[in-house]
């Protein structure tokens, strides 16, 4: 696992090898292939953004046209009438709450398992980590009834708890490696200075694990933000739909009004924050991804 850490650091420096390369001379076909995939990737996304400014008629009649005049109204309609604004807020509440809970519980467990020897340590670790490889579908039916019997069906706390429960295993798995590689001397020094166990964790170890926390935090955010199956089953109340759920409902059953431009605007509203956040944080994501996935 030490390797993981080092690699993460290396990659964390971004696409450095590319940067110092001579800029010229890559074979033309290579560029063409790279460009082709970039177009295939970006075109549908750009198309959605452009379509969100078109009128329904423009969308229906000419998929390739640009909007004659940009319809900003689509966005406000999607936000209010199609309830995207509400779904967005629901997503923020649920994902925000679940993310905090996941990070807190996950880092505590990972730290306790990584830095303390006790009987059953490995058992607890594998109990968490094994769950990463179980298909959620297996748990789906009983989970519905568990949540229902707790009276948490279609509530924010219910979703937050379930989201966190399913995000903790990956967090533990990921952070466990980080905490193991942190030097022990600092913690020992802190103990000698009279820090309590929790003091050492919160004031010393957690700050030291910051790169790992950021990486896993971003991953958890993406996973939770894009979660669909769990809310579909556990969150039947349209007023509390999260974004992915709301968009699916809008596209499949656009209420009693057809509104493509509004739907495209809704898609764009759902896409943009994540894309912008990614471009801002992409180094951390790449670092975290490599550290987590390459063992």
């Amino acid at each position: 696992m030490t390797v993981t850490r080092e690699r993460a650091a290396v990659v964390g420096a971004g696409p450095a090898p590319a940067r110092d390369a001579r800029r010229s001379g890559a074979a033309f076909p290579v560029h063409l292939a790279m460009l082709a995939w970039a177009v295939v990737t970006a075109l549908p996304l750009l198309w959605a953004v452009v379509s969100s400014f078109k009128t329904d008629n423009e969308i229906l009649n000419d998929p390739w046209s640009l909007p004659a005049s940009p319809q900003f109204d689509n966005w406000s309609r999607a936000w209010t009438q199609a309830s995207i604004g509400r779904y967005f807020l629901n997503s923020v509440i649920v994902v925000g709450g679940a993310l905090l809970l996941t990070m807190l519980l996950g880092s505590l467990v990972a730290y306790a398992l990584a830095r303390y020897e006790f009987r059953g340590n490995r058992l607890v670790y594998y109990t968490f980590v094994a769950a990463m490889f179980f298909p959620v579908f297996l748990a789906l039916v009983p989970l519905f009834f568990v949540v229902q019997q707790l009276g948490l069906l279609g509530t924010y706390p219910g979703l937050i708890l379930v989201y966190a429960a399913y995000a903790v295993p990956f967090t533990v798995f990921f952070l466990h490696a980080f905490f193991r590689t942190l030097p022990g001397e600092v913690a020992e020094a802190a103990f000698i200075d009279g820090c309590s166990h929790s003091g050492v964790f919160f004031r010393v170890m957690l700050p030291m694990a910051r790169p790992g926390l950021v990486a896993v935090g971003i991953f958890n955010f993406l996973g939770l933000w894009n979660q669909y199956l769990l809310p579909l089953v556990l969150n039947p109340d349209p007023d509390r739909y999260v974004l992915a759920q709301g968009l699916a409902a809008l596209s499949v059953s656009q209420g009693y009004r057809s509104d493509w431009s509004g739907l495209f605007a809704g898609l764009t509203i759902a896409m943009l924050p994540v894309l912008v956040a990614y471009v801002a944080f992409q180094r951390h994501i790449r670092a975290g991804m490599t550290a987590g996935a390459v063992k």
């Binding site: 075109l43 198309w47 998929p63 467990v109």
Partner: protein, 302 residues
């Protein structure tokens, strides 16, 4: 100190363990029991039916369609995704003159490639539903624009193409992640190995075969497991995008969709749980096979 240690450990582990036990472990455990009953969701009415649900699975043609489709996806999606991903990652690093230096703009490419990974599969499915629209979708629009009208199809409504269309979306959405993953793995290959290969006069393909691939093999294994798990799911894309959904006539049915429909539309919770257990064993087999072959190769390399 000792007392504080146990108190801290309890405080750190117990809340997460409780959460884990209630919402993760207990549902998984219950699923196995439920799959042996005919439970329809009304408490007190679950009858033990033994292996009855599993026997029915074999006669459920829609479920068999689902198994077949998941199996096809399990083979095709990882192969194609990893193929494209390795190709692009390799190009990025070997495209420049003089070996592993990367071509201009590879950082930007990686950022763009990664975009779909950030989006919910629901967003992707809604978007591609419009792309595939036979009359005003992006795809047929593009074909018509370049005069290839003869190639326009009703992509999601034709039994032979619908599954391909679904797989294309899955590949599209995951390639970027693996480009970044593989290219990081290539980054970590010692530079000298490439230089040596270059001195030996090895071409691009030979370098890839003898140097790059053996050293990124582990990443490829990880990718197979992840993509395999994704291919066994595919629920969101199929449920939102396809005709029916799961159609036409079961052509894009997947196990997850069958399970969801049986549980939450038909109320056959016991039967649906049996599907979940079947899916679990499929996933388990996949993981064990992948890990085993991974270990064997590691031994061979050592």
């Amino acid at each position: 100190m000792r007392h504080g240690r146990w108190r801290f450990l309890a405080g750190a582990l117990v809340p997460a363990l409780v959460l884990h036990a209630v919402f993760v472990l207990s549902p998984y455990a219950q699923a196995f029991y439920l799959s042996l009953t005919d439970w329809t969701g009304v408490a007190g009415e679950a009858r033990f039916v033994g292996a009855g649900n599993y026997a029915r699975l074999g006669g459920d043609s829609l479920f068999l369609h689902a198994v077949r489709n998941n199996a096809v996806m399990l083979v095709v999606v990882p192969l194609v995704t990893i193929g494209i991903g390795l190709f692009l990652a390799n190009m990025m690093h070997l495209g420049g003159h003089g070996g592993r230096r990367g071509i201009a703009g590879s950082g930007a490419y990686q950022i763009v490639y990664f975009f779909p990974q950030l989006l919910s599969l629901v967003v992707i499915a809604v978007l591609w539903g419009f792309v595939y629209n036979p009359n005003n979708g992006l795809l047929n629009g593009a074909l018509r624009a370049v005069g290839l009208d003869g190639l326009t199809r009703s992509w999601l409504a034709s039994p032979s193409l619908a599954l391909v269309a679904v797989m294309a979306v899955l590949v599209w959405s995951s390639v970027g992640f693996y480009v970044v993953l593989f290219s990081a793995a290539i980054d970590s290959i010692p530079r000298e190995l490439f230089e040596a290969a270059l001195l030996d006069g090895a071409g691009g393909w030979a370098t890839f075969r003898t140097v790059t691939f053996p050293l990124v093999r582990e990443s490829v294994h990880v990718a197979f497991v992840y993509l395999g798990i994704a291919a066994l799911d595919a629920f969101a894309v199929v449920q939102v995008m396809t005709v029916g959904p799961g159609g036409p006539d079961g052509a894009t049915e997947v196990i997850g969709l069958s399970l969801y429909r049986n549980a939450f539309q038909y109320g056959k919770f016991g039967y649906a749980s049996a599907m979940g257990v079947a899916l679990f064993f499929a996933t388990l087999t996949l993981a064990v096979l992948a890990l085993r072959s991974g270990r064997r190769e590691r031994l061979e390399l050592a």
